[in-house]
Structures are given as structure tokens and as C-alpha cells.
Amino acid sequence: MSLLASLPLYPLLSFLILISFGKRLSWVMASWVSVGAMAAAAFCSMYLVHQLSTSDTSVITAHMWQWFSIGNAKVNVSFYLDALSAVMILVVTGVGFLIHLFAAIYMKSDENFTRFMAYMNLFIVAMLVLVLADNLVLLYLGWEGVGLCSFLLIGFWYQEKSNVLAARKAFIVTRIGDTAMAIGLFLLFKSLASLNIAEINQLAQTTISFTSNSMNAEHSDAYWAALLLLGGALGKSAQLPLQTWLPDAMAGPTPVSALIHAATMVTAGVYLIARMNGVFLMAPEVMNYVAWLGGTTLLIAGVAALAQNDIKRVLAYSTMSQIGYMMLALGAGAWSAGVFHLMTHAFFKALLFLTAGAVILALHHQQDIFKMGGLLKRLPVEATLFLVGLACLIALPGTSGFFSKEAIIASLWSSPTAGPSLWWCAILGALLTSIYSCRLFFLAFLGKARFPENLVISDHIETNKLLRGALFILALLSLFGGLVTVDLSSLFSSYKPSVVSSIDSPSWLHVVAITTPFIGIIFSWFYYRRYRIVTDEPLTVSHSAWIVFCRNGLGFDTLYSRLLIKPYCFIAKLNKNDVFDQILMLIAWYVRIWRDILSVSQSGSLRWFAAAFGLSLVGLICVVIL
């Protein structure tokens, strides 16, 4: 079996071991198995990527077996590794390995430790299947697999009702997108008679019936297919209008937030669109929607992040907004910039989440930033690491976030499917990013310590070199990951010549883009002055209507509750006794009546039987004779 085919096997084996032997394994054993499997997978993928870059072919494939066939189209279980999936497997296994390492220590005292690590491993398996799949059905399998693991891990501490509700919400909201995506797959198969990704991308460009409008239809099949695939991507990547599940998903343990809801799974939507670029290129309107949805989401999430109190929710909204940037890049046709940002974002967001996890653990599970403050002196290492992560998030020059975000912003102005207005969106988003990052840092690490005086900062973290090690590697990756140039342009087919516009970008664009974060920092340095200086006057959490509105994610939850959930519950309540069920129950009722009548005759009394026997004999004889 080739190395590529065996890549998901390591975490799968580890999952099987952990789930079958469960509590019989000691902490040391369980973490060796799960983290070891991840290390093996990470080394394997590094070797594979090395092999890919040195070999002549730009693709490595591994065919395992045929899953099923529909007509002439075969659906195989086979893997396909090109530059795009290479980036993804590096992120998934590399960042995944570091997060597993962190999680093994972070979750050490949890009584369900093995179950946790098993789910994490299963997630990696599903994610690898997703990114390596060579056809859309296998991709869908991985897609659903990561959704399942996300559900299991958000609700990991299922004893608390809010966690279970958050898990359910995430599952249902992403399911809406998944349904759209499934219909998209059917449509693609109907019009192109293939499910192989490479074939679809090629056929999409050449099949005329796919791209042209049929007689009385307003839009071509390509338009609908791209729109439906976009639906799936929106659900998984928490973009408008299916973004509401992500902030609640922070109910899961912090390593889960880092791995699934920041670094890997939520970027699956970005991966899907980049992967299906052939289809999206044939539908420029949909590309335009992608760009606009990304732009809107990044602004909404940025505003919402400004008003959050929970350190993890700030990061969740910032994830949403960064994915908005990726979507914006994809919509503008800057595929490699989007994927590049996906990679650097995975590094620094994992770093931010894990450092936040370390801080939360040190403060005995305090997540409210208004109850932190002054941590720079108490936890200097964590504070520095967090600062590194934030610098990347803000995209200060020199950090990895800078390279990727600038690449995105630079591509927007002259793109035929984006344009200047979206460029301003991105700039405004960058401004918001730097403001909420500064607010977060000031509140958590500067100013007066607002946690109880007698709180002992637990030195659980202090002693663990291993945990710090994982954080340091991530910090290095965040700082210097941008120096790796990811050139995927050869991979993606470019626009049709007819739609390439000739708008030139003015020269001042770059200056504005680079200075924006600094403007944000200077602004918040003065605006949030009371957050960073040590004063005796207590900080009050604002409860003005506007702030609360922003804190609740700009009212989307309320809107959906009014618009969808309430009417649905109302209808369900009306039909509580299920009218159709009652009709069917008539049959059961009829049968039961007869049962009752007949069972009376079965009295069990011998004398009654004898009497009935004799009398019926007499009756029978009478009938025969007369």
C-alpha cells in the first residue's frame, strides 16, 4: 500500500485503539498512542509533500478500491494529492499534531480523556479523507465525518445543557448547508455525468450545455451547481447567513476550538470552493456572491468581536471574519491568496486559541476578559505568545498574516468579480481586526488585575515544557510561515479572457492597506485607554442596547428564532398528536377490540371449556340432523 493511502490509517488505528480499550489505558499510554499517531501522520505528509515537490508529476494518486458505480461513472475510494491538498494535509497533520500535543496535557485531568483523544483522532481521519478525496462523494463522506466529530466534541462535556444545545445547533445549521451541497452534487452528476473532481473541473469548461443557459431558464446549470456548492461551504465555514453556530461552538474544550473551529474544519468550505474552481469560474455571478458574502461576514464578525466579553468568543468571531477574507479572495478569483491565508490563519489562530486555553487554565477556567487584566506580569510567556498571534492576526508587516492578507487585499481592486467597494470592505475589516485585537490584549493582559486577589495562578502550565513547546513551534510558524511562498497559480484555471477587466490598481492602495492596522492600533491605544492603564476605578461592562446587540452577534440568533424556529415549533405543537398517525392508529384500535373480545373466551377455566365443547357438539349435531 502506498504511503498516501496509509496516511489516514495512523489516526484511524489510534482512534480504534482508544475507543475499544478506553479507560483501561493509562494517561501516558493513551497520549502516546494518539499523539504518536499524529506525529507519524505529520511526518508522512511532510515526506509526501517532499516527494511531490521533487517528482516530475504534479500529482500523486493512490487508488484503493471501487466504492460503487452509477451507470458508466465509477466512484472510487482513491486519494489525489496535488499542491492544494498538499497544503491542506500539512496544515491538518502539522497543526493537528501540535494541538494534539497540547490537548494531551490540557485535558490530562479529565475523566473521559481517552474518549476526547479518540474523537480528535477521528476528526483528523475525516479531515484527511475530505482533503485527499479524488471524487465528490468521498469528499462528502469526509465532510459529514468532520461535522459529526465537531458535534461530538462541542458537546464533549455533555453534562451541561448549554453545551449540548450548542452542539445540536452546530449540527443542524451546518446540515442546512450540507443538504444544499448534496443537491449540488446530484446536479453536477446529472449535467456532467461524472463525480471525479479533476474531471468535473475540466468538463465544466468544455461542456457547452453546462455553461450556457437552456432555452427558458434564467441561469445555467453551472450557476445553480456553484450556488449549491457555495451553500455547503457557507454552512461549514460559518459565513453569512449560516454563521450563527460558530460562536456557540466555543462551548467545547479549547483544543477543539483551536483544531476544529479555527484551524481546520471551518476552512473546509474555503477548500471546497478552491477545489471546485473550474465550476465556479463558469459562474461569475456566484463568484460575485462569494465575494460579497465574505465581505459582509468579515464586517459583521468584526463588529460583533468588538463587543464580546468571553476571550474565546472574541477569537471565534475573529475566525469568522478571517474566513470572510478567504471567501473574499476566492470570490475575487485570487485562489492561491485565499489558500495561503487559510494556511497562515491556521497557524496563528491555533496559536491564539491554545494560548487562550493556557490562560484560561491558569485562571481556573475563567473566560471573561473583564475578570482578567494585568496578566502580562503574571504569565509573561503566554502574554508574549498571545501578542505574537495577535500581531499576525492584525497583519503587522513581517508576520505571516501580513503576507497572506496583503495578497488578498491587493487582488481585490482589479478583480472583475470583486472591485473597489469590496476593497474598502476589506480595509475596514482590517481596521476592525486591529481594534478588537488591541481591546482583547489590553483587557486581558494590561491594566489592573481584576481577578480575585487570593487567586493562585495555577502552575500546572508552568511545569509543562511540552505544552510550551507546542506553543513555541506554532509561534515560529505564525511568524515565519509567510516566508514560504505558496504558488498554486498553475493549479487553478484562470478566467476566460473575455471577463478579465483592465482596471488598473492605483498606486496608493498598498500604502493604505499597510497603514490601516497601525491606524487601528493608535486609535485603540487612546480609545481603550482605561482598559490598559492601572487605575483604581472599577471597569464596568457596558449594557447599552447597541453593545448588547453587537454582543449577541448582531441579532441573527433572534432573527432566526423569530423567523424559523418559533413558526416551526408552533406548527409542531399544533400537530402534536399527529393527525396522520391517528388514522393509522385506527387499524391498531380495530385489532385491539377483537383481541379483547377473543381473550375473554380464554378464561383458562376447564369447566367452561368442557361446557363449550359439549354445547357446541350438540349444536353441530343439531345442524347436521336438521
Partner: protein, 102 residues
Amino acid sequence: MTEIPLTHVLILSSLLFIIGFVGVVVRKNTLFMLMSLEVMLNAVGVAFIGAGSVWQEADGQIMFMLILTLAAAEVAVGLALLIRMQRRYRTLNIDVLNQMKG
């Protein structure tokens, strides 16, 4: 020896049979039910003997032998069951045995 007409034999046999049947249905005590069963069997036996003597054939008497044997076997099993019942339920009331109620 005066000939007994067949009708008389049949009337006697029917009366005996009905008495036996009513006994089976009415009595609660299992022992008496068994005895009534014997009465019913013998009623049939009377009918066979009477018919045999009217037609001057030995078949009726042979059938009676068979019925006697059957009755003996039946009583053996029945009495064994009675003893088990007495041991287990401390009563011979047949209505106690109604666990097969539907």
C-alpha cells in the same frame, strides 16, 4: 330371556352420558370430575353392549373392552395429576388452575 329393545338401551345410555357431562361441567372438585368422566365412558359402554346384543355380534363387547382399558389408563394418569395438584396447590378445586387465561 326377554329381549330389551334398543331404544331403552339408548335412552339409558343417553341419560347416563348427560348425567356424566353435567357432572363434569358442574362439579368443582377434580376428583368428582374424573368420576363423572368415568360415568360418561360407561354410558358409551352400555350403548355398545346393547347394540352388540341386539345384532348378535361380538364387536360391541370388544369395543367395551377397549373402553375399559382406555378408562383404566386415563384414570391412572388423572389420579397421578390429582396427587400432584394436591401437593402443589393444597386443593382439588379445578378453578385454581386458570393460569392459561388469555
